[in-house]
Symmetry: C2
Subunit: 255 residues, 2 copies
DNA sequence: ACTTATTGTGCGCATAACGCACAATGATTT
DNA sequence: AAATCATTGTGCGTTATGCGCACAATAAGT
């Protein structure tokens, strides 16, 4: 996030209104006025005005007691997704790769200390969309995350180590900062990353960078599979070349 | 949209701030301050304050000249998507149906005069997510739309005919209101809808309702295919039973 | 170097949005 | 049925938020 802006340039009403939208989630898909005011941390009267405003604009609907979001809020996020149309060009390369290796394939970008999925081609097993585009995962223990971290400038990488939390997600998760730095340095050296069951037991993945013409890393692309089906060695031997080949194709397609 | 609210309950700052977000789209994924102020229809100073506020909150980023949305705006839309988790339970039925009929399958709800996709299982040909959840299509010329319209109460249906525009999308699109009413009545009678190339030349689809325990229609589910591969008669003979069967399974799963 | 376009920003001003408090309504308990 | 409790609706006085202007600074184009 940028350095704090001049307080007179900050719109508290917009910020509070957005807090009302984000007060809704999976476990609070419908809420009363009082619930919204508690979760959004504002008075009932303020919450009421924002809810009525969002109703008027079509983003929220109410039945006299409960409020809920409408599909129209997707437009707010879609404004971002449609701006990500660049990755549509990656689609054919990812589909071909998925057919070749018979595993899922994803592309993500780095945001704060997370990766965010911007494209995905699953294997035949179909996933719901909520697990696709927009998904955030911690960068430190994902193969795509390590690829993206490896391309950060030294000051950026320092900032990452200052703000990220390295909570173990499995018994295999590397959380020691010194060891993480070593892994990231190795990725910088090797040009790819393999992560073995650090995010989720049973999940292995290998990732490579997608670069622009100037050589700077735009995104990372991975292929992932189940530990029961593929070893780390097999993953490197079978997947690295097709991944690099697909990344090169994408690089040229984006030019 | 609800009747207009008391002007003192309406937050113009929130409304304007949201206009800034929706000023971004596929063709305007990055914009200067002046472009944003033109597209959001506000002064440069106002646009600037909202952009700085959105930067501070992490929804927008800027490089000193161009502003662009960040993946964080997906959270605004995801607040809705995660509230749609109910349809995750439909997923297994849809997957089975897709395997059975070898065509794409979707579920949608009605909003204003459009349908909005809330679940989708494509065939082996993978689609990018932007064409999935959240997609809006006109209700009047889609099979799912006609199913949903058929369940509207008379006053609601009248409201629909008042506000919707029936623009022809193909030479086959039915736009005559009287004929549309007949089709909707037939759907009410038959319990399903077939639409043949009215939305898109070459596209045929058949849809059935998904009802709750009280019998009210919650959503519609369809299977669609290409006119070159399947006739209308075949669609009815081969797809109607599996569709009804899957809808019944979903109804019981949602109970 | 000059011109044009765009951006940054301080500031006076008007009103948008604030929270309070009380009435109304609905749900729960006795 | 009555009492109690919780929640919601809303008018209103107050003030701080957000407004647009205008001018300086910067960038781009000729």
């Amino acid at each position: 996030m940028s350095t704090a802006i001049n307080v007179r340039d900050f719109s508290t009403s917009l910020a509070r209104g957005l807090r009302v939208i984000t007060a809704f989630d999976r476990d609070h898909d419908e809420m009363t006025l009082s619930e919204v005011s508690r979760r959004a941390d504002m008075t009932r009267a303020a919450a009421r005005r924002y809810l009525l405003t969002l109703c008027e604009l079509g983003y929220v609907t109410g039945d006299g007691k409960y409020f809920r979001l409408t599909p129209r809020v997707l437009e707010l996020g879609f404004a971002f997704l449609t701006s990500m149309h660049i990755w549509e060009r990656a689609q054919p390369f990812m589909e071909r790769l998925t057919e070749q290796v018979n595993e899922s394939c994803s592309i993500s970008v780095l945001e704060d200390s997370d990766i965010v999925y911007v494209a995905r081609v699953p294997t035949k097993r179909i996933m719901s969309v909520a697990l696709g585009i927009g998904t955030r995962l911690p960068a430190f223990c994902t193969s795509m995350g390590r690829v993206l971290l490896a391309d950060l400038r030294p000051a950026e990488l320092e900032q990452f180590f200052v703000q990220a939390e390295f909570r173990p997600l499995t018994p295999y998760t590397i959380t020691d900062p010194a060891l993480l730095r070593d892994r990231i340095a190795a990725v910088r050296q090797n040009g790819y990353a393999v992560v073995d069951q650090e995010l989720e037991v049973g999940l292995r993945s290998i990732a490579v960078p997608i670069r622009n013409q100037a050589g700077r890393v735009l995104a990372a692309m991975n292929v992932s599979g189940h530990a029961s089906r593929i070893s780390v060695e097999e993953m490197q031997q079978r997947f690295l070349s097709p991944l690099l080949y697909a990344a090169e194709g994408i690089r040229m397609a984006l030019a």
